[in-house]
């Protein structure tokens, strides 16, 4: 099974500096992600407007010319020659993933596949000094959250049957 990866923005760490947006735009296309300032946005990933590379992408479903396709690696990519600029994908995507260039052609995050092939992280991730933007895979993310929660709860464990290990000791 290919592990699904996507960008995650940790709003606790993001200070809205915009380095990620600059780094993305520096690749020679309009920035393919946008970030709200963390103060205005308490929601987890909602601060990030970027493609989530959905398994059943709404953008691709609505595209009249089948310009948008899910690749075998799970990354949703446009075929620019097919794009007529109708923006139906932009309206359909609830996550702000679609970005149009000056020519009116659809563009979107490709997780920096080319950089990935050379072993580098996506430009936005590399640019984030706060470690707020990360490329995560869904399975690991779930496990991480669960461990973090257990850590949070573990410190407060009391044993109603008697009070936990009051004393322990050994070599």
């Amino acid at each position: 099974m290919t592990v699904k990866q996507l960008l995650h923005l940790d709003p606790q760490r993001c200070d809205g500096c915009g380095d990620c947006v600059t780094a993305c735009a520096a690749l020679g296309h309009p920035a393919r992600l946008r970030v709200r300032s963390s103060a205005a946005n308490p929601g987890a990933n909602g601060a990030l407007a970027c493609c989530r590379h959905c398994e059943r992408p709404l953008c691709a479903a609505v595209c009249p010319t089948a310009c948008l396709q899910v690749g075998s690696n799970g990354v949703v990519l446009p075929r620019p020659e097919r794009c007529v600029g109708c923006r139906l994908c932009l309206v359909a995507c609830p996550l702000g993933g679609m970005v149009f260039d000056a020519q009116g052609k659809a563009g979107k995050c490709d997780l920096c596949l080319e950089l990935g092939r050379r072993g580098h992280p996506p430009a936005c991730v590399a640019s984030c000094a706060k470690g707020a933007l990360q490329l995560v895979d869904l399975g690991n993310q779930s496990a991480l959250q669960r461990r973090a929660l257990a850590e949070h709860r573990g410190a407060h464990l009391k044993h109603h049957l008697g009070g936990g290990p009051s004393r322990a000791g050994g070599a």
């Binding site: 398994e55 496990a143 257990a150 709860r153 573990g154």
Partner: protein
């Protein structure tokens, strides 16, 4: 620590009693067997946590983590396709045909409940809707050997907690 969750508008709720859990993982395989869940996604996962106090003593805690069917569920709020909704029993219901696999729910769920399997769409604990509609305990509760997971009406659970406290109190007074 007792934690009350999964208030079902119908009849029963699930009590997760962390003080009884020994991390045996039986609920995990029971859940997978009951729901024929393929390897990979873990609707229920028991996580162990180790902490060390100032004296160097080690304490372990075990936390069974499934979907808590939160009353104010963040996953419902962020799901862009309304694939998640509250059903008549009060459970957070996933309509898989609406799921587009965007992963939004995972990032807002504090329990890591959303799981992604071979088809890369979300799946999770459904709260044993059918069992609870028939007033049966959830599979994890029915099959838990340590009594850490219990599914009953709030009245029954409250009685259970009170009687065990009373017994403990009586024993200590001896």
């Amino acid at each position: 620590m007792r934690e009350e969750i999964m208030m079902a508008a119908g009849e029963t709720m699930l009590l997760i009693d962390q003080s009884r859990c020994v991390g045996c993982h039986a609920c995990e395989t029971a859940c997978k067997m009951e729901n024929n869940v393929p390897p990979g996604p873990r609707w229920m996962e028991v996580v162990e946590h180790e902490s060390v106090d100032a004296a160097g003593d080690v304490a372990l805690s075990f936390l069974p983590l499934n979907c808590r069917h939160c009353a104010d569920a963040p996953c419902i709020a962020v799901c862009p396709t309304q694939a998640l909704a509250r059903d008549g029993l009060g459970l957070v219901r996933l309509e898989r045909e609406r799921c587009i696999g965007c992963g939004e729910c995972l990032f807002v769920c504090p329990f890591g409940a959303p799981q992604f399997g071979e088809d890369r769409l979300m799946q999770k604990c459904h709260g044993c809707r059918e069992r609870r509609a028939r007033n049966l305990p959830t599979a994890c509760a029915q099959y838990c050997p340590s009594g850490a997971l219990r599914c009953a009406t709030p009245r029954e659970l409250s009685h259970l907690v009170r009687t065990s406290r009373a017994a403990l109190g009586a024993a200590r007074a001896d």
